[in-house]
Amino acid sequence: MSDQQKQLVVIGNGMAPGRMLEELFEREPASYSVTIFNAEPRVNYNRLMLSPVLSGEKTYADIITHDDDWYAANGVTLHKGDAIEAIDRDRRCVVSRSGIELNYDKLVVATGSSPIVIPIPGVDLNGVYTYRDLDDVQRMVDVCAGGGSAVVIGGGLLGLEAAAGLRERGMTVTVLHLMPTLMERQLDPAAADILKRAFEDRGVNIITEANSREITGSQGQVAGVLLDNGTEIPCEMVVMAVGIRPSKRLADDCGIATERGIVVGDNMTTSDPDIYALGECVEHRGACYGLVAPLYEMAKVIAENLTGACASFTGAVNATKLKVTGIDLYSAGDFADGEDREEIVLRDATAGVYKRLVIKNDVIIGVVLYGDTTDGPWFFDLLKKGTDVSEMRETLIFGQAYQGDGAADPLSAVAALPDDAEICGCNGICKSKITGKITELGLSSVDDVRAHTKASASCGTCTGLVEQLLALTLGDSFEPSAATPMCSCTSLEHGDVRRLIKAKELKSIPEVMQALEWKTSAGCAKCRPALNYYLIADWPDEYADDYQSRFINERAHANIQKDGTYSIVPRMWGGQTSAKELRAIADAVEKYDIPTVKVTGGQRIDMLGIKKEDLPSVWADLGEAGFVSGHAYAKGLRTVKTCVGTDWCRFGTQDSTGLGVRIEKFMWGSWTPAKVKMAVSGCPRNCAEATCKDVGVICVDSGFEIHFAGAAGLDIKGTEVLGLVETEEQAIEHIVAIVQMYREQGYYLERIYKWARRIGYDEVRQQVLHDAEKRKAYYDRFVLSQRYAQVDPWQERVRGKHEYEFAPLAKLDQVVAI
């Protein structure tokens, strides 16, 4: 080393170069004479703490990392508010905006990143801010003083922190997020849903899949944000937090290699060996980093290499923490689903906890923690080191405290609980009360414990704990309950799930999964369609149908056939048709080259072999003749078969066709646990075969005999008689009440006859026939539900709903390279 100190020039004074200098001075305090150019007019502060400054929890003074004294003590020259304009590599010098020219031996470019501003009309208006540095924060705080509304565009880490801060300052805040779930890069959808609700509980309005079209203004000032769907959200302030872009202009201008960022090798030098790049402006092995841990790692590598070492930065896995007071969130690694991956999920609904580990080949590759993040660093450490976790698998998710010393058995964790530990939070039942009653009364099942202690009798989420206490107390003599869970994602039965959806007012699939402590992060092909139905049935006016949780027939509103084509059955009310309808069908069959036309057992016409792409056009043609969907594909009302009744038949006692049409017109479109087929016969000769239907009517001279719970499929079973009513109005009220009772109580895919056998035929008669008040209540709830259900799905699709369902993504006639 020469006697003269070498010149080290640093462009940028963010957290990464700050850390790099600390590392450098620790190693060789006097090896370089250091000069920093900072575009911001201040010393180095902790940018991670901008959120607490925005929310008012901290001040600028609290977040300073290096004060003026530090620079003086270390002999560093800091030019505040003076940006570098150019790097002259030939002369090995930098030129600042104020005109300073300075030679360097080594140069560190740490220009950071700049916020991405999406180029929509109105971004130039007053009141549009980015969220990047202290100046941004100060401007926002000034606006907050006047109160009003703010819109944050971007539901990622920064956007949410900004939203929380603005809310804390008393603003009305709406977050617009382009993607379906918040923080989609860091969180799985389950955790994102919990996060969304946490923000909503704080009064932050969140709109996902929101595409901002324009920022509207008046007299140069922001007035609102207009979305693609025409919604306008009025506001005085817009914060753009959609992402960051590495600031690489200086490097571009002087001919250093750049891609998305300034390209560096593992030793952190750029294509010019005397110039290092550091921080958010860097691109290393194709990756750019925006989180502090890997930037500190880079800082360390540069400090070592500046002092003659040969250190390498080899990339990093990021861990993310959201910095909003009261919301604990931690994520790291890769948490996508995959068939070669397993997941361990722990949900504690009472404590608001969701934890998910993604494991591949016995190694943790992804971590998502919500509510309790204490074990985050430990999991992250296991992830980074690639530790084999097979030994501690059983108890891994409970965290570090449960490892070692023979805690491998989950039962021992329960055994270790003190006697006064609360097991059932709803009813305040402690461990010793349960074990005491088990011994005292000789209880042997969860139901027994429920009956005698009330433990797990309310919300049911402690059922697992109660089972473990039974197993502990009874030893080998304990036989786990024979309850059949809905699927392997839960230990709850259908009945429990239905009851809890109502009791806990759960209104979305992710909410059910969290509150009922689902063992998987997103459910499976068995539970998702069931939950979707339960939520539609229970909250008809609030729940948004999740189409991706429906089987294809209900998504496409047609029946898939073995060759991938579809069949459709238009509704023929009561089995009656007309020349006009038949002509429309005939025309469609010819026009679309439909190969097979068949009369169904439900008195309708089935057109088979239709190409999926043609469905909307076929429906459009049929719709012109007045046809609507016959729901032949639905777990819902199918047909109402009728005979010709008093219109034509010499034996007919009532207008069976007319009643059938009335029932069908009243009830079509409703979703049910399994398909519902009905029939109305005009006399006891029963030509419409009403006595093997889910619900049937036999007309007699004195009125209408109502039947239910018949079957003529896998099982054959004659109906049970509900009772005799006198008028058509009464008949309809009773039929609707039975179906609504079934809609509220049936298990998904359970036909009426099975449901009625399970709960008892007399129970149905009691509630529907004998209890007029209950009957009326069922009827009213059905009517409410129909308000949302009775929309012809075919015409909706003719008008363009779910267009993507029917058209191919692309048709490639010829493979052309691009």
Binding site: A336, G338, E339, A522, Q548, I552, P808, L809, L812, I818
Partner: protein, 110 residues
Amino acid sequence: MNGESIVWIDIGALSDIPPSGARCVEIDDRTIAVFRDRDDRVYALEDKCPHSQGPLSQGIVHDGCVTCPLHNWVISLASGKAQGADSGSTQTFRVEAKDGRLLLEAGAFS
């Protein structure tokens, strides 16, 4: 084309496929199902279940797999292999989502 380079075909936007859904790409008389999972990963498989050629694109997407709409076979999106007790395999193709666009490998079916 040499063995190193891959020719990609732009087949549409990622947002054209609903999350946990699929769309089809038709190439002459073959159909390729392109899946998007809830984490925005994309996969491409021949739109045929190894069991009885059911259109996998029409199934429910879950846990990195799709359940065939015809007989509920569960097929891995990444490997195309039937899961559980069933055995059989569907051809997979390379597909990537880049800057919001979907790129399908051209070589596999040319």
